[in-house]
Amino acid sequence: MTTTDARTSGRKPAQLVDMNWDPITRIIGNLGIYTKIDFANREVVECHSTSSLFRGYSVFMKGKDPRDAGFITSRICGICGDNHTTCSNYAQQMAYGVKPPKLAEHITNLGEAAEYIFDHTLFQDNLVFVDFCEAMVKATNPGVLARAERTDAPRGDVHGYRTIAEIMKAFNPFEGEVYKEALKVSRITREMFCLMEGRHVHPSTLYPGGVGTMPQPSVFTDYLSRLMRVIDFVKKAVAMNDDVFDFFYEALPGYEEVGKRRILLGCWGAFQNPDVVDYRYATMNEWGKAMYVTPGIVVDGKLVTNNLVDINLGLRIMLGSSFYEDWVNEDPFVTHDPLGNPVDMRHPWNQTTVPVPQKRDFEGNYSWVMSPRWYHPGTGEHLALDTGGGPLARLWSTALSGLVDTPYVKATGGGIRITLPKGEKLPETTLEWRIPKWSNTLERDRARPYFIAYAAAMALQFLEEAMGMLQSGDTKVFENFEVPDESIGCGFHEAVRGVLSHHLVIRDKKIANYHPYPPTPWNASPRDIYGTPGPYEDAVQGQPIFEENGPDDFKGVDIMRTVRSFDPCLPCGVHMYMGKGKTLSTVHSPTYGANHG
């Protein structure tokens, strides 16, 4: 059971109101969040997350040429499609037995770094922060805004704003200074991306076996000059976010409970180390640990494993509340992995996707999303891991492993040290992200600007190494290969909002089975066959309500902050019911909503 226990002391008789948000705005895709809120005890007692879109990638990719997979799967996502292409190429490289030249890895890493910087900036400053901006706080917590006007911003020397309220004002949509600057920064960083991957969001220069990007000095110069143009913005963003989030803890005691869940984080690793990676399954644990973001599964604050083979073998795709037929009686595609370990029938390699469109029923099936879980061999639990929106799991996993040690980024066990060079106005700056006490809404959001800094710092290293290779005359970026008659492959990567894996089975040189597992199925999954809710549901369920509005003009900002903290990217959807909710029968149930057995 992974639900967070509800607080059960000193409860009043419940006053339950149905509140729905469908579609949820300022996210990618369609997501609906359906809740029951107890206004007497100011708490969310039940939450269902539903997505209302099915497109059928796993269905229509069958029988196609496997080399097309990277081009096709990019179209799964309109903000991080390149993460899919990259991950697909990782899986294909394993299946074809090809290792791209080192320079191709640097170019791919540079493209992905630009994507992280762009995507996190656009999402944090133009979508998430609207929930923390002056206009929103005025409408939901006027008392907090009044306090923010009286509170000095501790890091004003870095970002230039005197009070917390001034920072909030700078994030007002379409008018605030930072909101507008972030849009411009998101364009400069997308130009960096286009230099490496051709275009955004569906890259044109990434191939299995390498890249088509021409490694000329000007490509790297153009990238570097743009990176240096945004480096001070990155430093300022970290300072502004820290000020605002620290203030929220202070102004609303107990806010750490918002969106808090048991620490169950997954990270599949990012930025291959070109000197180590060979894409063979047999050596996957070694090259996985050599990545510049370390893969890992963190349970209750401890590292369970950082071996990609263990991570792979523990994957279980569960049904329970989704609009699909089970595949458990089909023939398996893969009974054993290349090392001889047995592969479960519920592993993506063996999955068959059979859509069954049907009426939405919150007591039965209610979502087009399945329920990915990770089987913990030590405890026998099927864990509903979340990604912490991406950055939280990446930083946490990397910090605990303590393996990353580069000139710009160092994992210290208790945190991550990131050094950014001098910019136009701000000096060289060393930032330190420390492992937080909670896996909650504010910490998911706080991690995001730190990971922007992390990606920018790593980009500097990749640039230096790539330029060094180019200057020594090493310009090979593509390695040829043959598609084998029969093969399997898996790719592990970090999409912007968290874990991403692609699982591929080839027969007769064609795709026999292909299942991508992006972060959102992990985060947005509905209740599985055991009744375990998915992370959005679990994080919202039981969270306190701090908004000052009552049921009649309730906006649900605390709930939306929680959902958005995961960086939902559903090319699928969420709705919110605004205004007068439907009052349910008032029941006295002290532990209602604590556990769904």
Binding site: W21, D22, P23, I24, T25, R26, I28, N30, S52, L53, F54, R55, G56, V59, F60, D65, D68, F71, R75, G78, I79, G81, L122, N126, A135, P173, F174, L183, S186, R187, E191, C194, L195, E197, G198, R199, H200, V201, H202, S204, G210, V211, G212, T213, F323, P355, P357, Q358, K359, R360, K476, F478, N480, M560, P571, G573, H575, M576, M578, G579
Partner: protein
């Protein structure tokens, strides 16, 4: 956020257009939201320039888009869509993003994609219902991206949803209230500036400051899709010299390693992806025909030479080989400086101040 609009009269007798217009954007087709994300990449002009009234000759624009909406979502966000469906919001431009699924193949109560709920029943409201309600009332209808224009990736062979493009769904002869057909801006995703430019033209037309945008037989803006990738490609000269890349390590023409540029209608190599940066074949990405009605099936497998490429590259070989050699000779010649540039004591440039014809 107020603007003086419709101030630039093009002709004395021009009808005055609208002072204000709403854009209702629905990305709940079968989409990845990549066209909305691409829209935010445009800087020429940017979406905030349009919304803040910084572009002359436009009406005041109210943009309603899920990804950018400051609202919290749900009914608050859906209010303008509901108002338009009731016929109480005029004028508006309807933008559809994503493929339109075929609901008719579902037996029973299921749905492929929905947008909000039916207030009466609480059941998901299908995208198809919204299109049926809104398209006949819209002043203009725009399809953003290849999914909405022609069906795109989700409509490839073997797809389970029977999806299609917006004009396939509404009928190619459909006309919005302005008399404009569906305005198709293909691209997977849309090239940011191509889309913004088209949108601005439609908005100018709404303001009465411009005629309708010229569209081709597939309802695409003529000035953007009238030429092929090859006609704007940096690497086209290599083709003319029959100098082809054999793999992706080469800066030369990629037609033998999967590029469909010679037969694809798209201006991306000419224009770049954003602010002139990137593109596809220019920077080493094969053209996979993502703007085309037959995308993706006609172009798969993407990394193999297009069938027509074999013949055309064979035909150009003898000519290209000769031309390349001749150019090589001439190039060598023009790489030498003339003889009179030296540091000796005598001037040999032919200087003569008294020269007469």
């Amino acid at each position: 956020m107020t603007t003086q609009s419709g101030t630039t009269e093009t002709r004395a007798d021009a009808p005055r257009g609208f002072d204000e217009i709403t854009i209702l954007w629905i990305s709940e087709g079968m989409s990845c939201d990549g066209d909305t994300v691409s829209l935010t990449a445009a800087g020429q002009p940017s979406i905030e320039d349009v919304v803040l009234g910084l572009i002359p000759g436009l009406p005041r624009v109210n943009l309603v888009n899920k990804v950018l909406s400051p609202s919290l979502g749900g009914e608050d966000f859906l209010a303008p869509y509901r108002k338009a469906a009731r016929g109480e919001l005029e004028p508006f431009i309807l933008v559809i993003e994503g493929s339109v699924p075929n609901q008719n193949i579902i037996e029973g109560d299921g749905y492929w994609t929905s947008f909000g709920n039916d207030p009466a029943t609480g059941e998901p409201q299908t995208l198809n219902w919204w299109i049926d309600q809104l398209a006949p009332k819209a002043w203009a209808v725009v399809a953003a991206g290849t999914c909405a224009t022609f069906g795109g990736i989700h409509a490839m062979a073997g797809n389970p949803t029977g999806c299609m493009g917006l004009a396939d769904y509404l009928g190619w002869e459909f006309k919005a209230r302005s008399g404009l057909p569906v305005v198709n801006v293909p691209g997977c995703p849309i090239q940011p500036e191509n889309f913004m430019e088209t949108l601005v033209w439609v908005l100018q037309h709404a303001a009465g400051t411009a005629p309708p945008p010229p569209l081709d037989h597939m309802l695409r803006p003529q000035w953007l899709f009238g030429k092929t990738v090859h006609e704007g490609c940096d690497r086209a000269a290599y083709y003319e010299q029959a100098d082809f890349a054999k793999d992706y390590n080469s800066p030369k023409c990629q037609v033998k390693v999967g590029c469909w540029g010679p037969v694809v209608n798209c201006n991306v190599p000419k224009r770049g992806w954003m602010s002139g940066i990137g593109g596809c074949p220019n920077v080493g990405g094969i053209c996979i025909g993502c703007t085309m009605p037959s995308f993706p099936d006609a172009f798969m497998p993407f990394m193999d030479e297009p069938p027509g490429g074999t013949l055309s590259s064979m035909v150009i070989k003898p000519y290209g080989a000769v031309i390349r050699r001749l150019r090589g000779l001439t190039n060598d010649m023009v790489n030498h400086e003339p003889r009179w540039r030296h540091n000796k004591q005598k001037l040999t440039s032919g200087y003569d101040p008294h020269w007469r014809a």
